[in-house]
């Protein structure tokens, strides 16, 4: 309350409100007017009313014309002069503090290089199948099949789907049947070549955009004798004369002549449809009439829908197309956009759950993590060293720099640093690209990079600069010039310090997370690789049965087995590690009529168990000694289902009765992701399309020579190609292996960058406390004591980071392991050891600096004063 002898004052808070809002050039007159009015009112109407009216008066000034600053009152921190000064100062700082600059730039450029690699990889992954002109109208047909409470989702289809879909639905512009991934023997003159490819419908080239060098896309696959080959195949077959390939004849599989009607450019690597030769599918069906049956599901079917067709609505209509035509009730047909399939093709229980997109996500996440860690280094070092720049900030402020100008300065500085790091990163990427390609099995180049990519990497670099510069800018520009220049400025344990500690904790939590996850992934993959599969996949190879191998199998097998280096010979239609065929059509006496279990079928021949090196639980192998005709082998799962003593029981498969002659131990017959299911192995030479040969251990070369000799003798017109089962197995899990390796490398890099930051912080602290340490030493502190003193704080942070990371990592890795049917046991030990290793590395980083400081001669640091 105002005392009587004091002049009454207008409400202070309203004045300060106005001071805040009002433009500086108006403030004097406005405030003057208000106060004068206030006192006039007191005279006229009394203090109370004057006060009450005052807020109304102030409120009347709350209008844009009063807020608006006069243009000349604004400082202009963006002038070129100031900028050149910023760069000069930044450059001097850079040179003066070489260690810190080095740590910053090194960390940032490694981080940036990693993210560029990841971006390259992601760009390539997302470019798959995106080059077709009508890409957004193309779809692939899939089917859900529900049996025994399980839903299986597949993209192999019977041909009827393609025919009926095109007829029944006006939305469908075209459909095409494909039967690809075949190995065909192409003969021209006296030369035989093995080419990958297959049979496709006539509309194939109108749907998919594979540019023609010679020939016409519209008519190329018409008729029954046309053939389209790629440029590389044309060069291989016709040499320099390849430009005139169109019109020339080739023989395929030694039985049918085709005339080349087109040569297309080589199929790009980022196409999921790969081929070197394509033949008309109608020709295939002309010779294989039974393979057009509704239950012969072997084809890839693609559809082109009219523009503007709603996929959801169409899928509702098309769903029962199979059931209607094949008199079934367990199938649901649907289309999936063709461009999406490469990244999204993993279904579980009828639901799309992902695919390669998961790798894209994982790597994008890692790239962000690594950049974040590098940014944190920058922030920490910048704020830790702030006391050294405090004076500069003080002087700038006194001369008239505003906070905004200072923030601009620091952000400019960090962007500059990020751009230097960017250049280094680019050099790193160019240098390491071959290694990266080798690792990922990709063929990435920087040659045909598009503008978007370049813009995005420069954008990333600038963003990193802004992010890492923003916090130092906020913090440094807040210094009070008086405190700084008086010389009493000291960085206490304030918010900045806590924040810095928080960042170190966060950094190490991320690193530990990456390291431990890597170890878990590695252990799981190693477990899968070395797991007992139930058969020996080493020293086992197979050859497609073609030519004489079809008709004279027995003679060839007999001759082969006597050759040096060969331990066993059999025939099988399926790779026992990857059995695709399954059927409901398995019966026995006493089978539960409600049993809807799917049985996996292998069609094989004599000596199957012996050659595969499976283990017999009961009974015997297929053998020519028994002159078997229709007999079966089953695995333990099937035996369990049938129950009792199964050997000798009669099994009915595909309508054929025959006795079970043996039970083999369960083997991994599908995928390491899924559990082992019931298997029936049937003696069926005609359908056993591959010849399997087991070589004697260590005599692979000898065995191959023997195989070559026998093969040449019986099958002179066919080039011999063989596949080793273990190599194929490795290939199948290659993307997992590559992911594991990459994640591994990135994890180590993350830890390395974190340690760089820690190194910088430690050496800074040590430098700051040199005198203190000297005094301590003189007073008798031991080296050990000083090391402990210095490293304790840091280790505490690293340890907290470790503790935070463990539960998160545990959760994430458990989630990932859920994907596998067969999981490695991850004990607590793994977490502890991997985490402690990270901590230990951090400890080494810190203590090296500390020990150096502790053993230094105290005289050196004390003599100066």
């Amino acid at each position: 309350m105002a005392t009587r002898d004091r002049k009454p004052q207008p409400p202070r808070w309203l004045d300060s409100l106005l001071e805040h809002f009002c433009a500086p050039h108006l403030l004097e007159q406005v405030m003057g007017d208000l106060h004068e009015r206030f006192y006039r009112r007191i005279e006229r109407e009394g203090v109370a009313r004057a006060r009450r009216m005052y807020w109304r008066e102030v409120l009347a000034y709350m209008r844009p014309s009063v807020f608006k600053r006069k243009a000349t009152y604004r400082t202009k921190p963006y002038s070129a002069d100031m900028f050149s000064n910023y760069f000069k100062v930044a450059f001097r700082n850079l040179l003066r503090k070489r260690v810190y600059s080095g740590i910053n730039i090194l960390g940032l450029s490694i981080g940036l290089a990693c993210s560029f690699f990841i971006l390259l990889w992601v760009t390539d992954e997302t470019s798959y199948d995106r080059f077709h002109d009508n890409g957004d109208q193309l779809y692939q047909a899939w089917r859900h099949m529900t049996t025994g409470g399980q839903t299986y989702t597949m993209n192999s289809q019977p041909r009827g789907i393609a025919d009926e879909m095109a007829v029944e639905f006006p939305e469908v512009e075209e459909t095409v049947i494909t039967y690809l991934d075949q190995q065909l023997v192409v003969t021209s003159g006296n030369n035989n070549y093995r080419e990958a490819g297959g049979y496709v419908g006539e509309a194939f080239f109108q749907m998919f955009s594979f540019p023609f060098i010679h020939g016409d896309a519209k008519t190329a696959l018409q008729g029954l004798t046309s053939a389209v080959i790629t440029e590389r195949t044309a060069r291989k077959i016709f040499g320099d004369d390849w430009e005139h390939a169109v019109g020339r004849n080739i023989t395929v599989d030694h039985n049918k002549e085709y005339a080349i009607t087109g040569v297309v450019r080589d199929v790009p690597e980022n196409s999921s449809i790969q081929f070197d030769i394509l033949l008309p599918v109608e020709e295939y069906f002309a010779h294989n009439k039974n393979r057009a049956h509704w239950y012969y599901m072997a084809y890839g079917i693609y559809a082109k829908l009219r523009e503007g067709t709603s996929l959801d609505a169409f899928n509702k209509k098309v769903g029962d197309i199979f059931n209607r035509h094949a008199d079934a009730n367990d199938h649901q047909i649907f289309l999936q956009p063709f461009e999406d399939i490469y990244l999204y093709s993993f279904y579980r229980d009828g639901k799309l759950v992902g695919g390669r997109i998961e790798y894209v996500r994982i790597f994008t996440g890692i790239a962000i993590f690594i950049l974040l860690i590098a940014c944190i280094n920058f922030m920490n070092l910048a704020t830790a060293r702030s006391s050294q720049r405090a004076r500069e900030i003080g002087v700038r402020k006194v001369i008239g720099a505003q906070r905004k100008a200072l923030m601009t300065q620091f952000v400019t500085e960090s962007i500059g640093l990020a751009l230097i790091a960017f250049v280094l990163a680019f050099v790193l990427v160019v240098m390491l690209l071959p290694a990266f390609n080798y690792l990922t099995g990709k063929n990435l180049t920087l040659v045909n990079l598009n503008g978007t990519f370049l813009m995005s990497i420069i954008g990333i670099a600038v963003m990193v600069g802004v992010i890492s510069g923003s916090y130092p800018a906020l913090y440094l520009s807040s210094f009070k010039p008086v405190a700084v220049l008086r010389g009493t400025f000291r960085q206490g344990p304030g918010i900045a310090d806590t924040f810095r500690k928080g960042l170190v904790v966060f950094q190490f939590a991320l690193s530990v997370l990456l390291i431990v996850s890597t170890v878990v992934v590695y252990l799981q993959l190693d477990y899968m690789r070395t797991k007992e599969l139930g058969l020996e996949r080493e020293n086992l190879l197979y050859v497609a049965r073609e030519g004489a191998l079809i008709n004279r199998y027995d003679a060839i097998a007999e001759e082969l087995i006597t050759q040096p280096g060969i331990a066993g010979v059999t025939a099988s239609g399926q790779n026992p590690l990857e059995v695709g065929n399954n059927t409901l059509d398995v019966g026995w006496n006493g089978k539960d009529p409600n049993n809807t279990q799917l049985f996996y079928i292998i069609l094989a021949y004599n000596d199957f168990v012996k050659t595969m090196k499976m283990e017999l639980v009961a009974g015997r192998d297929f053998s020519k000694l028994h002159a078997d005709s229709m007999v079966y082998l089953i695995n333990e799962e099937t035996a369990k289902m049938i129950g009792g003593d199964v050997v000798g029981k009669i099994l009915n498969v595909y309508g054929d009765n025959g006795p079970i002659v043996g039970v083999v131990k369960n083997f991994s017959m599908n995928s390491l992701y899924s559990p082992i299911e019931p298997v029936v192995i049937r003696l069926d030479l005609n359908s056993a399309r591959n010849l399997y040969v087991r070589t004697k251990p260590g005599e692979t070369q000898q065995a191959l020579e023997s195989l070559m000799t026998v093969y040449k003798k019986f099958n002179p017109g066919y080039p011999l190609t063989y596949t080793f089962l273990d190599q194929q197995f490795e290939m199948r899990y290659r993307s997992e292996q590559v992911t594991a390796k990459l994640v591994n490398i990135f994890a180590v890099i993350a830890l390395f960058i974190s340690c760089l930051g820690l190194f910088g912080l430690t050496s800074f602290t040590v430098e700051q406390r040199t005198k203190e340490l000297g005094v301590r030493r003189v007073l008798g502190a031991s080296v050990g004591g000083i090391v402990v003193l210095l490293s304790r704080d840091f280790l505490k942070l690293v340890f907290i980071g470790f503790m935070i990371a463990i539960p998160v990592t545990w959760y994430l890795t458990t989630q990932w392991l859920e994907n596998f049917a067969d999981r490695v046991e991850i004990g607590a030990g793994v977490f502890v050891i991997a985490g402690l290793a990270a901590v230990l590395i951090a400890l080494t980083t810190v203590s090296w600096q500390c020990i150096k400081a502790a053993i230094a001669n105290p005289v050196d640091c004390l003599k100066n004063e």
């Binding site: 004097e28 007159q29 406005v30 405030m31 003057g32 007017d33 208000l34 106060h35 004068e36 009015r37 006192y39 006039r40 009216m53 109304r56 008066e57 102030v58 409120l59 009347a60 000034y61 709350m62 209008r63 014309s65 009063v66």
Partner: protein, 113 residues
């Protein structure tokens, strides 16, 4: 609307500037208008009107001297320009002209106090 058009309040403020010349500033104008109309007139409203008038070229201003009741702050003194004068005259002529043409006893009688 032409730049030179005046709102009613602006016109009154402009007249008030002329009345108080050469010592016209927002406080005295606001006080006078409050007295004349019996309604609260804030200096803020007057200030805004003066700003607009200045933008339209009807008045010019310069900083005046400081007084103690203003806490030592200077005030801004306003003066009517030639354009402002011309406009005021025009407005008065139009009004006078119209008044003179109203036939006697056309307007309903009111009690004058």
């Amino acid at each position: 609307m032409r730049r030179s058009d005046l709102g009613e309040f602006e016109e009154i403020v402009l007249l008030a500037v002329a009345v108080f010349s050469p010592e016209a500033y927002s406080v005295v104008i606001a006080d006078e208008l409050e007295k004349q109309t019996g309604k609260t007139v804030t200096t803020g409203a007057v200030h805004a009107a003066l700003q607009r008038l200045e933008n339209k070229g009807m008045v010019t201003s310069q900083m005046g001297e400081a007084t103690s009741e203003r806490g030592g702050r200077r005030k801004r003194i306003f003066k009517v320009t030639v354009a402002g004068s011309r406009l005021l005259h025009e407005v008065r002529d139009v009004r006078n002209n119209l008044w003179s043409r109203i036939a006697p006893r056309t307007l309903p009688k009111i009690k004058t106090t």
